[in-house]
C-alpha cells in the first residue's frame, strides 16, 4: 500500500476508467486531493466531470483500487458505504427530495450519523433563510435557496471530503456570489473539497490546484496560481 512519501492524500484516483454500459466516459484518469485542499475540476460539457464525481461517490462502480479514500480502496463500494466513510456530494442540479420538507432534506443528510460540528443549527446559521422556510416543501424554494439546502444536506454528514458538482449552474450571478462567499466557511474547517465548475475564473480563484478534463482524459493539472489562461483554454477546448 502507501509507498509514496508525499503529503497525506485524502482521495487518490488511479487510472480510472468509467463506463455507462458499453460506453466509456473516463480513460485512465488519475487525481489526488490532499488533506485540507480544494481541488477544482473544469472541462467542457460532456468532458466527464460528473462521471468522475459519480465514480468517487460510488454511484458508478469501478475496480476497488482505482479509487482510494485515505488508506481504504473504495472503487467498488456502494454509495451508501462510501457516504458513511465520509464523502458527501452536492449533486449537479441540486436534486433535493421533493417529498421532503427543507428540514427533512437536511436531516436526511445527517442520516449517516457521523458526529461533527455540522448540525441543523449550524446549517441554519450559515444560511438563515432556510430556517424561516424549514417546514416548506423543498420544491417551493428559489433555485438559490435550493442550492443552499443541497449544500447544507451534504454538510450534515460531516464529511471529510465534499464534492460540489456545478453549484452555480442555472443560478443568477448575485446568488452565485452569495453561495461562493459562504464556501470558505464551509471548506475552511479542515474539510477537503473537489469543486466541479464551468466558470474557469471562479474555479481557479477558489482552488489550490486545478485539473482539466477533456473527453474523459486529464488534459491539464497544476497549481491554480501557476497555470496560465492559455494553458487552460488549450486544455479545455483542445485547440
Amino acid at each position: 500500500m502507501g509507498s509514496k512519501p508525499v503529503p497525506e492524500a485524502v482521495l487518490e484516483i488511479d487510472g480510472l476508467d468509467s463506463f455507462y454500459g458499453d460506453f466509456q466516459a473516463l480513460f485512465g484518469v488519475s487525481m489526488r486531493v490532499e488533506r485540507g485542499e480544494v481541488v477544482a475540476v473544469i472541462g467542457a460539457n460532456g468532458a466527464g466531470k460528473s462521471t468522475l464525481m459519480r465514480s468517487v461517490t460510488g454511484l458508478l462502480t469501478n475496480r476497488p483500487e482505482m479509487v482510494r479514500f485515505g488508506t481504504a480502496q473504495i472503487g467498488a463500494l456502494r454509495a451508501d458505504q462510501i457516504a458513511h466513510m465520509g464523502i458527501a456530494m452536492v449533486p449537479e442540479g441540486r436534486q433535493l427530495f421533493p417529498s421532503l420538507s427543507v428540514e427533512e432534506n437536511l436531516i436526511i443528510g445527517g442520516q449517516a450519523g457521523r458526529p461533527g460540528e455540522w448540525t441543523l443549527d449550524a446549517v441554519y446559521s450559515l444560511f438563515p433563510v432556510l430556517k424561516e422556510r424549514r417546514h416548506q416543501a423543498s420544491t417551493s424554494l428559489s433555485g438559490g435557496q435550493q442550492q443552499m439546502v443541497a449544500i447544507g444536506r451534504a454538510l450534515m454528514s460531516n464529511p471529510e471530503l465534499l464534492l460540489f458538482d456545478e453549484i452555480s449552474l442555472g443560478l443568477a450571478p448575485i446568488i452565485i456570489k452569495t453561495i461562493y462567499e459562504a464556501l470558505p466557511d464551509v471548506i475552511g474547517t479542515g474539510m477537503s473539497a473537489v469543486l466541479v465548475e464551468q466558470d474557469i475564473t471562479r474555479a481557479v480563484d477558489i482552488s489550490d490546484r486545478v485539473y482539466c478534463l477533456q473527453e474523459g482524459r486529464v488534459s491539464l493539472e497544476g497549481k491554480s496560481g501557476e497555470v496560465s489562461r492559455e494553458e487552460i483554454s488549450k486544455a479545455y477546448f483542445g485547440v
Binding site: 451508501d80 417529498s99 421532503l100 436526511i108 450519523g113
Partner: protein, 288 residues
Amino acid sequence: MDWVNAIIQGILLGGLYALFAAGLSLIFGVMRLVNIAHGDLIVLAAFLGLTVTTALGINPLLSIAIVAPVMGLIGYVLQRVVLNRTLGDDILPPLLVTFGLSVIIQNGLLELYSADPQKMSAGAIETASVALPGGLNLGILPLLMFVTAVLIIGALQWIFYRSAWGRAFRATSDNQDIAQLMGLNKSHVFGLAMALSLVVVAVAGIFLGVRTSFDPSAGPGRLIFGFEAVIIGGLGNLWGTLAGGIILGVSQNIGAQINPGWQLLAGHIAFLVILAVRPRGLFPRIDG
C-alpha cells in the same frame, strides 16, 4: 332497516379491504413494485395463523403477535434475496417474479394444507354484538376489526410522514441514487418497506381467516379487492385507501342486498364507475 344494516356492515368490511390494500399501496409507493403475490401472502398469513392457533391452542386474534413478526421477517428476506434483484428501469421483471411467487405460494399451501376450506374461530367474541337504536345489531368482532384497520392506517400514515423510516422511504422513492448518497442502503430500505407491508398483511390475513373461510386459492380475489380499494382511493394516499375499501365494502353489501349473487359484481361496477369518472381515484396523492 336492512339497507342501513347492509351499509353499516359494508363500512366495517371496508376496513378489512383497506388492510388488504394498505401494504400493496405502501410497496408501490416506495419502490414502484406491483406485488401480484400480495393476496397469496394474505392467505399464507391466514394459514400461518391457523397453524399457530391450533398448535398453541390460543385465540386466532392473539396469534397475530407471532404471525406478524414472522411475516415481517419473510418480507424482509424475500425483498433482499429475491425482489431487489428484479427492480430496475424495466417494470416487467418484478411483475413476472411476483406472479411466479403467487403460483408457488398457492401450490405450496395446497401441498401442506390441502384444498379444503379452513376457518379460524375466535370464540364467543364472534357472536357478541351491541344493540343500536332502531333494532340494529353491530357485531363486536367486525367493529373491532374496523377500529384496528383505522388504527393501522393511522400508524402507517404516521410512519410514512413523521418517522425516520418514513423519511427514508420517501427519499428512496423520490430518487434512489441520491438516497444512497445520504448513506441509505436502498436494498435495506426496500426490505424494511416489504417487512412493514407484510406485517399489515399478517393482520389482514388473520382477520380474513376469522371472518370467512379461506383456502389456498383465495389469494387472487383478495388481491383484486386490494387493487380496487387502492385505485378508488387514489394511489399513494393511505386515508384514501381506507375510503376506497369502505366504498368497495358498501357497494358489495348493497349489491348483495339487491340480489345475493350480485355482491362481487356490485363492487366491481362501483370500481369501474369511479375509474371512469375519476381516473386518478377519489383522493389522488396530496403530500403532507
